[in-house]
């Protein structure tokens, strides 16, 4: 079966058009030794043979469906109701691309509008965009928004040391060349409030934080407001089923990873970055917005709105040219939120909270283990361990097919031998008890 559709005649015509005598001549700038390397590939297989080969490779993996998983740290195993896949697999939705033409895209536009509406209700904000790639990129876009709200005159960005370490990296990568000073995460003991000044464009905190802890952010919000800095809160949407929304603390922008809302772990992607803000920042925010309007006959309709902000019209002067959204994943989140409703989401959050607290209490009773309890926590908690985390995880995995926690010592030297464990509604009590029993073996 020919995988390359061009015939020799096609190639000849193309080479003639660009005035190159042969294919070899076209690639002559590539060193000859690198041009046709010997790839040492195995012999071709039939489709059936390929399937067998791949299946046997896949079987070597331990998936979260087979083992039990207590790993979180930004990607969470929550239940995905069947209705999510049933809706997003429909042909009308499956080809996800930002819909430019309202006359042929009402279904997708309405779905995005409903997604935006539910994100606003969950976060307490006025306006949500149509989404970003993941929680890290939406947080980086929030920083760019904040800097633009201050017309690039404020160059300091304060980040909490307990913002997800990868989000902090992405913020730094995204804002390269913008001449920003990003401070606050040098040591775990840093208090972001003390770093706020008149040159600060924004302060970013995670709620619950990377260690799973949550606290009242009213004072930080007030301190930010006092110096005119924006408060950006990166949050877990599942936690908002139970906790006060970030709007209660005066958040200007709320971002986060939406993967927990009906999207599987998917080996790390595709995920969903949500981004919601106060209305007064609407002209500075990144991404697409869908709005509700009426058509010429007075019927309700949906369109991309405020397009002047971005590359449709402002082009090189736009505050961000990121206009791609995670359409299909935003739809999955909308279906999930609609299916669960307010009460369902609260139930999921309560299950996570209570199961995590049960697990923490049981682990705390073990010799050598102690749970960090300086602040209340939601579904994740840090545990000081009597042995290196890698060793414990190895034991858990080999002995009981348990995927253990995140090794905090990798990012925070202060938390050497500390494990970040995550418990969700997907961890039945027997699983938690087995985890506790297996941990006990480490010290005995």
């Amino acid at each position: 079966m020919p995988y390359i559709p061009h015939s020799d005649a096609d190639r000849k015509a193309m080479l003639q058009t660009i005035g190159v005598p042969s294919l070899e001549a076209l690639f002559e700038d590539i060193p000859a030794s690198a041009r046709f390397p010997d790839l040492d590939l195995p012999a071709p297989l039939s489709e059936m043979g390929v399937r067998w080969e791949l299946e046997s490779l896949a079987e070597a993996n331990l998936t979260t469906a087979e083992g039990s998983c207590f790993l979180g740290a930004g990607a969470y195993r929550h239940f995905v109701p069947a209705v999510v896949d049933a809706v997003i697999s429909r042909g009308e939705f499956f080809s996800a691309y930002t819909p430019y033409q309202p006359e042929v895209s009402q279904g997708t536009l309405q779905a995005i509008f409903e997604y935006q509406t539910m994100i606003c209700e969950l976060t307490g904000m006025d306006v949500s965009n149509a989404s970003h790639y993941d929680g890290a990129t939406s947080t980086a876009e929030a920083v760019i928004t904040a800097v633009n709200v201050h017309r690039m005159r404020r160059k300091k960005v304060v980040v909490s040391p307990f913002l997800h370490p990868e989000y902090r990296n992405v913020v730094r990568t995204y804002t390269q060349g913008m001449d920003l000073t990003i401070v606050g995460d040098e040591a775990a003991s840093t208090d972001p409030t003390e770093l706020l000044d008149k040159d600060t464009a924004c302060v970013i905190v995670q709620y619950p934080d990377f260690l799973g802890r949550f606290e009242d952010l009213t004072d930080l919000g007030q301190a930010a407001q006092d110096v005119g800095a924006l408060l950006i809160v990166a949050t877990d949407p599942i936690a908002l089923g139970l906790l006060k929304p970030p709007s209660a603390f005066g958040a200007d922008i709320v971002t986060g990873e939406g993967q927990g809302l009906g999207i599987g772990l998917n080996f790390g992607g595709p995920y969903l970055g949500f981004f919601a803000a106060k209305k007064k920042h609407v002209r500075k925010i990144a991404g697409r917005l869908v709005g509700q309007t009426s058509d010429a006959e007075g019927e309700r309709g949906f369109v991309l709105t405020l397009s002047t902000r971005e590359q449709h019209i402002r082009r090189e002067r736009a505050t961000s040219n990121i206009c791609t959204n995670q359409g299909l994943m935003a739809l999955a989140a909308a279906v999930y939120m609609a299916a669960l409703g307010k009460c369902g989401l609260r139930q999921v959050a309560e299950l996570c909270y209570h199961k995590a607290h049960y697990a923490a209490d049981e682990i705390d009773k073990l010799d050598g283990f102690s749970v960090l309890r300086d602040k209340p926590f939601f579904k994740e908690f840090a545990v000081r361990c009597p042995a290196p985390v890698a060793e414990i995880n190895d034991h858990l995995l080999r002995k009981r097919a348990i995927m253990g926690g995140y090794d905090l010592g990798e990012t925070y030297p202060e938390y050497k031998d500390h494990m970040l464990l995550c418990v969700t509604e997907m961890n039945p009590r027997q699983e938690i008890d087995r985890l506790v029993r297996t941990l006990k073996e480490v010290t005995s």
Binding site: R151, R153, R283, T308, R309, I313, R314, R317
Partner: protein
């Protein structure tokens, strides 16, 4: 097309007018008509300094978003904060309540380089073909 007899004009459809020692700037009647309904104006901050023809702000209408260019160089002494809540003033009264900024000019001679009303009118007619 309305003109202000005391004002001078730029090819980017801004007007400038002396008011005592300061220069008041805005967009012309022709500009507001072309833009149609103005929905948002972003203005600089007091104390900002611009050279002539520097972009100093943005005017956004239901049809388009355009940059605003300083007719002359200088320091911003005041901005029209009314426009934040009432951008429609740009349409209603472009030479009066719809003003944008007041500048303390760095080189008062730059004002003389701008077009007078007749020249601007001819420029617009030519531009429109």
């Amino acid at each position: 097309m309305k003109l202000d007899p005391e004002a001078r004009y730029t090819e980017s459809h801004e007007w400038a007018r002396w008011d005592d020692e300061e220069i008041v700037c805005g967009v012309t009647d022709h500009a507001q008509e072309t833009l149609s309904d103005v929905v948002y104006v972003e203005l600089p901050m007091v104390g900002d300094v611009f050279d002539a023809a520097d972009p100093y702000g943005i005017v956004e209408s239901v049809k388009a978003a355009s940059d605003l260019y300083a007719p002359v160089g200088g320091e911003v002494i005041a901005v029209n904060e009314e426009l934040e809540t009432a951008p429609e003033l740009v349409n209603q009264d472009p030479y009066g309540d719809g003003w944008m900024i007041r500048l303390e000019p760095s080189d008062p001679d730059e004002f003389a380089d701008l077009m007078d009303g007749d020249e601007y009118q001819a420029f617009v007619e030519e531009e429109e073909g």
